[in-house]
């Protein structure tokens, strides 16, 4: 936990510092005394303060909790990382390919990856889930989803 707390503290300090540096470039307000930068700079200062306390606590051995370290050999960690990458690819492809195609591909891949290898389920579940979601949003709720490649068909 100690190392994790120190890294988290450093990230907090970096975010706070960025907010303050950007804040100083904002225009000041002569009449109201406090301009657009007042609130963010105040908040960023507190963020830095608590980040420093977190780091100090870590050095003083007062970190709480346990964190299992990242272990790439661990199946769970691998699944987590693969999901993260697959999810990102899915989001990027959603606009060009369209909701229906990208979702079916994503669902098939994810189900297969999580260990569902039954051909029948892989062939039926993703299209059923995708198309019923599409119908619910497009037809019942009148909210549009990205059509992508199927733009002329649907």
């Amino acid at each position: 936990m100690k190392k994790a707390d120190i890294i988290a503290g450093i990230i907090g300090i970096l975010i706070g510092t960025y907010a303050i540096v950007e804040g100083t470039r904002m225009p000041t307000d002569a009449i109201m005394k406090i301009g657009p930068s007042f609130f963010p700079i105040l908040l960023a200062s507190f963020l830095i303060l608590f980040s420093v306390i977190l780091i100090l606590n870590a050095f003083l051995g007062r970190s709480k909790g346990e964190v299992t370290p990242w272990n790439i050999a661990d199946k769970g960690v691998q699944r987590g990382l693969i999901t993260l990458i697959a999810g990102t690819v899915y989001c990027v492809l959603m606009a060009p390919l369209g909701f229906i195609i990208s979702s079916i591909l994503f669902l098939v891949y994810m189900m297969w990856m999580l260990g569902n290898r039954k051909p029948l389920t892989l062939a039926t579940a993703p299209p059923i889930i995708t198309i019923s979601t599409w119908l619910l949003f497009e037809k019942v709720l009148n909210l549009s989803l990205p059509p992508g490649l199927l733009e002329n068909l649907i």
């Binding site: 907090g12 109201m32 987590g80 990102t88 979601t133 709720l141």
Partner: protein, 520 residues
């Protein structure tokens, strides 16, 4: 003060409309199913279902949200009883009695009692809430910028009580959340801040995508790491209502837990999980046979379920009157209200008391819907618990992205959801609480805009902040709530540790029989 019966009756009458009743039924059904699905918490369920309410008029969507909220509270008990996984944190105490009962072959009895206790607590809480409203509305004084600023500070002080194990991390999460909501146009001068040159960021980070990212996508990343199948207890669910002798036996607990639940709910910052535990603890203390607790004491189950539903109604009081949520689920609900153009807070009781009554009426009807749907669908909901996670988890991810995209039809919102999903997952992994971010995103803009407005009024003199008595009271309350929360924190931690051990004991006993494979 006089109770306005006419308004109450007309508000109830307004809710008896086909569209609204339908929304309550849909919401309650979705809520029970969502609460029962393992790996889908009530908070996550609400966040996922909020997009379904976008296109609906406010009263209909709020009716649906109330249905989801109340349904999910009961739904959590189903997975607690059948697979020893509380669907909501508030159902954790239910596991301790419900699961041993199910193992004894009394799953039907436990489910019937859980449903009835939820219904009883819910109706009790809704009544308390209805009759407490005029008292609150008489408090709806002239709220100016200074009071609003103080109210936001008070709401933020609640952060401490919802920040989980580490206060420092809770504070960091809150200030991170507050910083996030300073992105976009400055509320007074209109200067664009921290937009990274993106047009989409001009109005700040979109709320619903952020919420879905933090509370649903993050959970998906967490969920795929677990593997193994949960085994359900095979049981005949042939009981729809608890027997008369069970009701008589638990009646004292039902009343006591309803009172505890409603009262705890009305305190800002006290979540339903805490209420359920206190009610459960009190039931055990008052019991003549405390040794039965932990081995399937039906009155313990009744106490826990009754209190968490009473609390979910009671927590509407601070939510609607102050705009301060008690836990993550109500915080998401608050966000959903804001999306519908309703700003809960003192002004709502002053200007929109009719909507307040309609919300109360919806909650009351949602309890009846819950009892009826819960009885009718008991076999179905018991099966929901068994849905294959290999299909469910990726589907939730798809639904998250759809929900994020649907509101503005903008792919940028999908990326925002993904970003906050990853951020939320990393934060969860390293023990940072997520609810303070949400609370900060709701209360932050209110705090800043009103602070700045107050400063404009006083031409920059900060003394204005202590010039109004109500504002001073709120700030003092904020400080007091911080102090009490810090002091209470250790006690809560000790209690949680004790509970964790108890749960572990139940689990161990089970694992010896080799009924469950779990490899987190």
């Amino acid at each position: 003060m006089d109770f306005n019966w006419d308004l109450l009756i007309s508000s109830y009458a307004a809710v008896f409309n086909f569209d609204i009743l339908l929304m309550i039924v849909i919401g309650t059904t979705a809520g029970i199913a969502g609460g029962a699905l393992p790996g889908l918490t009530a908070t996550m369920g609400i966040a996922l279902l909020v997009p379904l309410t976008f296109g609906r008029p406010p009263v209909e969507s709020i009716a649906m949200l109330m249905g989801i909220y109340c349904g999910a509270m009961y739904g959590g008990a189903i997975s607690a009883i059948l697979i020893r996984t509380p669907g909501t944190p508030a159902a954790a105490a239910t596991v301790m009695e419900g699961y041993p009962m199910a193992r004894r072959g009394e799953a039907g009895r436990a489910m019937a009692m859980a449903l009835f206790a939820s219904f009883f607590g819910g109706v009790f809480g809704a009544l308390v809430m209805t009759f407490a409203s005029p008292i609150i509305s008489s408090f709806a004084l002239e709220f100016g910028p200074v009071e609003y600023f103080a109210l936001a500070i008070f709401g933020l002080s609640v952060v401490v009580s919802i920040s989980g194990r580490s206060l420092i991390k809770g504070m960091m999460a809150a200030f991170f959340g507050l910083l996030i909501c300073t992105m976009g146009f400055d509320p007074i001068s209109g200067f664009p801040r921290y937009t990274f040159g993106l047009v989409e960021m001009m109005e700040g980070p979109p709320f619903i995508p952020t919420l879905i990212g933090l509370f649903a996508v993050a959970e998906v990343f967490n969920e795929v790491q677990k593997s193994g199948q949960v085994k359900q207890i095979k049981a005949k669910l042939d009981q729809y209502l608890p027997s008369w002798s069970d009701i008589k036996y638990c009646f004292k607990e039902l009343i006591r837990s309803s009172v505890i639940g409603s009262f705890m709910g009305a305190i800002p910052g006290v979540g339903c999980d805490i209420a359920a535990f206190i009610a459960y603890g009190e039931a055990k203390r008052a019991s003549k046979r405390p040794e039965e607790y932990g081995n399937g004491a039906i009155e313990g189950l009744a106490a826990s379920e009754c209190a968490n539903n009473a609390c979910s109604c009671g927590s509407m009081i601070p939510l609607l009157s102050l705009g301060v949520p008690g836990d993550a689920a109500t915080a998401v609900l608050l966000g959903a209200f804001v999306i519908q153009g309703l700003q809960p807070g003192p002004m709502m009781y002053k200007d929109n008391i009719d909507i307040v009554y309609q919300i109360l009426a919806s909650i009351m009807l949602a309890q009846f819907a819950m009892q009826i749907i819960g009885m009718a669908g008991i076999q179905l909901f018991a099966r929901v618990v068994l849905v294959d996670r290999k299909i469910l988890t990726p589907t939730i991810f798809v639904l998250c992205m759809v929900g994020a995209y649907a509101m503005r039809s903008n792919i940028f919102d999908v990326y925002t959801t993904l970003f906050f999903g990853i951020t939320g997952y990393m934060m969860m992994r390293y023990d940072f609480p997520l609810s303070p971010i949400l609370l900060a995103m709701i209360l932050g803009p209110m705090a800043e805009a009103n602070l700045r407005r107050a400063m404009v009024i006083s031409s920059g003199d900060p003394a204005i902040l202590v010039s109004r008595p109500l504002a001073v009271i709120l700030m003092v309350l904020a400080v007091l709530s911080m102090i009490f929360a810090v002091r209470g924190h250790r006690k809560v931690e000790a209690r949680l540790a004790a509970l964790g051990e108890q749960l572990a004991n139940i689990t161990e006993g089970e694992d010896e029989e080799g009924e469950e494979e779990k490899e987190d």
